[in-house]
């Protein structure tokens, strides 16, 4: 996946201790990011097995080189509408959570960005409470805002339901 190769245009100053690397991804045009070290794999469209009776956020499970990975539909998790007219199949980002693998289904994966902490902001209080729950903060980028996803909370399905 060439997206995973860090862009070579970073200046030395940016690679200082003040930066953190994020894998960026898009859902419904919104840019999200998760720390690059939590990402295990980036996958193209996969055959996902439905799991009956599972919470609706659980898209199913898939086979990643012999390991069973639970797929989470981030769209549904963020209370966004399901994608209409499957124009382009989605992608997924596999993360490791306490030894369990989860695949986050998203629309597409962007590049890896090194972001300076100076550009980091806390969640604005006006943010939707559900989003506030899953967002660890916001990065101001040129012309865009990046929402840092809190993967732990995103995967803690029992929590938001209870």
């Amino acid at each position: 996946m060439n997206q995973l190769v860090p862009a070579g245009k970073r200046s030395l100053a940016e690679i200082s201790a003040e930066t953190q690397d994020y894998v960026t991804m898009f859902i419904d045009g919104q840019m999200f990011g998760i720390p690059v070290l939590t990402v295990q794999d980036v996958l193209g469209p996969q055959k996902v097995t439905r799991i009956p009776l599972a919470p609706r956020e659980v898209a199913g499970s898939l086979n990643l080189r012999g390991r069973i990975v639970t797929a989470i539909d981030v769209r549904r998790r963020l209370n966004l509408k399901d994608r209409e007219g499957q124009t382009k199949p989605g992608m997924s980002v596999v993360v490791d959570m306490n030894g369990e693998l989860y695949s986050l289904l998203i629309d597409s994966v962007g590049e890896v960005l090194s972001l300076r902490s100076a550009a980091f902001e806390r969640n604005p209080p006006t943010l939707d409470p559900l989003w506030r729950e899953f967002s660890a903060g916001i990065y101001r980028l040129d012309g865009k805002l990046l929402v840092v996803l809190d993967v732990g909370r995103l995967l803690d399905l029992g929590r938001s339901e209870g």
């Binding site: 009956p52 919470p55 499970s61 369990e100 399905l157 029992g158």
Partner: protein, 902 residues
Amino acid sequence: MDDLLSEFLTETSESISVLDVALVNLEQNPNDREILQNIFRLVHTIKGTCGFLGLPRLEAVAHSAENVLGKFRDGELEVGAHAVTLILTSIDRIKLILSHLEQHEAEPEGNDQDLISQLNAMAEGKPPGAAASAPPPPPPPPQPSVSKKEPLPGEVSDEELQRIFDATPGPADMAPPPAPPPAQEQSQPAHPSEPHEAKGGLPATQAESKAPAMSGDAKESAVAAQTIRVNVELLENLMTLVSELVLTRNQLLQMVRGRDDSEFSAPLQRLSHITTDLQEGVMKTRMQPIGNAWAKLPRIVRDLSVETGKKIDLQMIGAETELDRQVLELIKDPLTHMVRNSADHGLEGVEDRRKAGKPELGKIVLNAYHEGGHIIIEINDDGRGLNMGRIRQKIVQNGLASEAELDSMSDQQIQQYIFKAGFSTAEKVTSVSGRGVGMDVVRTNIEKIGGTIELKSVEGKGTNFTIKIPLTLAIVSALIVECGGERFAIPQISVLELVRTTGTSENAIEMINNAPVLRLRDRLLPLVSLKSLLKLGKADEELAETFIVVAQVGTYTFGIIVDRVFDTEEIVVKPVAPILRNITMFSGNTILGDGSVIMILDPNGIAAATGAMAGSSQAAEQAHLKDLHGEEKTSLLVFRAGGADLKAVPLALVARLEEVDVASVELSHGKPVVQYRGHLMPLIMVSEHCQLQKEGRQAVLVFSDHERSMGLVVDEIVDIVEDILKIEITVAQPGLIGTAVIAGRATDVIDAGFYLTQAFGDWFGVTKETSAFGEEQGGKRILLVDDSLFFRNLLTPLLSVAGFEVTAVEGVDKALALREQGASFDAIISDIEMPGLNGFQFAEAVRGDARWMTVPMIALSSHATEKDFERGRKVGFNDYVAKFDRDALLETLSQIVTGGAA
């Protein structure tokens, strides 16, 4: 061998090999404190363990060696080559004793005074006699002084050693192989004193010392060689690899399946076998008796009983039950915790128990056993049980539920709260338990491995925990089904049978107020629709055909309606992600041969989901089961002969299945016979419609009795099935007992006895053993009590032919009615397992009344164990014969009847 001892041997062998290396290092770096410290510790450990195990000889040697090492460590003695040799010698001696221990589980006779005195001398810092004299260490480089100083003692020491050797009785008493090491150990001290120049001139000594050393190496403790310690992680990896191998194998098999001519078939078959063996082997390496997890419990309970002043009796049943190591590790702590809880909270103090009218000695019973692919572990105590009042109070206090909510809950539901985090009702926190961490952790741990924990508690009576955990987390065989477009796996172990239903077949699904049921043979099977259960769509979509998987959970049998059934596959069970663990319908998931992920259905969960139904029909279920048990299953051989309809005969009566070459069939008196194993075997047709094949090979069922054989000509052997043999329709036609439903098909059960008498008119009569009584038995009356029509029909002709007059009845009440009518018999043959009154009760009834009190009785049963025999004797049976054992029955009968007459 004693576990403790074998563990000691393994451990000590390991320490000793470490020691060998360490000592050699020490010799090179005599001033390395760390090495010295290490060696000292190892020897000290050996000494300590020996003392603990009561091995005085070993202990003495280790003790002396330790003394010397202590001096080295404290710097009181210099480490020299001689000293190291002496220590090595001691180690060799320890090895020798160990190897004897291993073979005989006892220390060898004899003593090690020679060695000990040398060691002691060394410890005291003086040379041990003239012979092995190590130079006192003062000169800083000891080695040169050794070589210069003693050109002669080398020879002297040989003699000396010989003397010591002769004087040491120990090794001589042993089996020859262990003998060499002493030679080695005694020649070794000589080494350092041998001048270097002399070495070449003393080849004999060298050879002598080397050869034994080699034999010693070769004999490296057999225990140590038999068991090696393997990193658990390695085993886990191995298991994962094997699991993947199994999956790949399955994938390959699926690809080749259906292509008969594939050149891959044969090697693949071989690969398949090897994989299976490998899988089993690796699985075995991971199985451990559950007793390993219990080993610490007696001690914990003992300490607790001292600490709390309670009297506790810990009983452990089924410690040998094996389960996967991984599972064992995970339940070890929960189990310990629960037993601790039982001892600390569960059981009352002596005083309280006495007040409650219980015996002072409180009981904790651990019971482990296998049940349907699971291990069940029960932890029972007869203590005070859960205090409902306090639990309620605590629940409200912690804000887990309100009073009103609690009022609507059953006691059982309320009790479940003890599994919540931070919940402890113990009044005070003891050192043992009561911190409120625990039961929630126990539950989490058990659920982590796909297990369940149930709690039953009666206040004042005690508490019962039932833990159910999978036998292994690894590989199971599963049936793959499809429902609503999704595939699922059902563990084969809970599948009883498959039924195919179509709208028109006799097996149609019927509805009682929207609850689907199926008439299966002579009972009503409750059904659940997987589709509606898993919300995969509407259940009422009519399909041309559906399948019903008949599953059994505990005592509850039910059918699961699915759309399609594929075949069975070996699957590697992987636990579902934690976020899905609350879906009780699934016990795990797996990857199929084609690489797709599928969910594994949990029949327990499905049964629980239909729980209300199960509860109400429980009683009826029980009653039905009793019925079922009343009729045992019989192995039946199903075949076709003279027509398309199925015929069956009890497999136990058939000696062999043969194919005879039609060309070899000869005629004798116009009847077909073949030469078979040196005798003529008549071939009998099942009916006149039946004919021998024109050419090729003819399938024949061979019935044998002593040297005689009879071949029953059949067209085709269909199957061997195990089913309840219940004759539904009886027919007058000779050769047929009647028609029964076998494996779901109407099948004619043939009367083997009829054909046997056709082959040899005297089949039952004239064998040597029985012929002697043949005539005398005329007119002897036998009462045959058996609930199975089949056996009555089988035995009646058999006994009649043998010359008895037989009255057969189907139950004890009928038999007793005959007694009331004044009938009298010379002998009674009775089945044991019968509905209503069983054979034992029948015998008691017979013996308890004057009329038939003296009539000999023979028990007839398929379970002829020693215990049954004993019981039979006790209630008044004269003898006990296994069903199907014609000879034994006839012989016994003859003896009893004639004996009784004489």
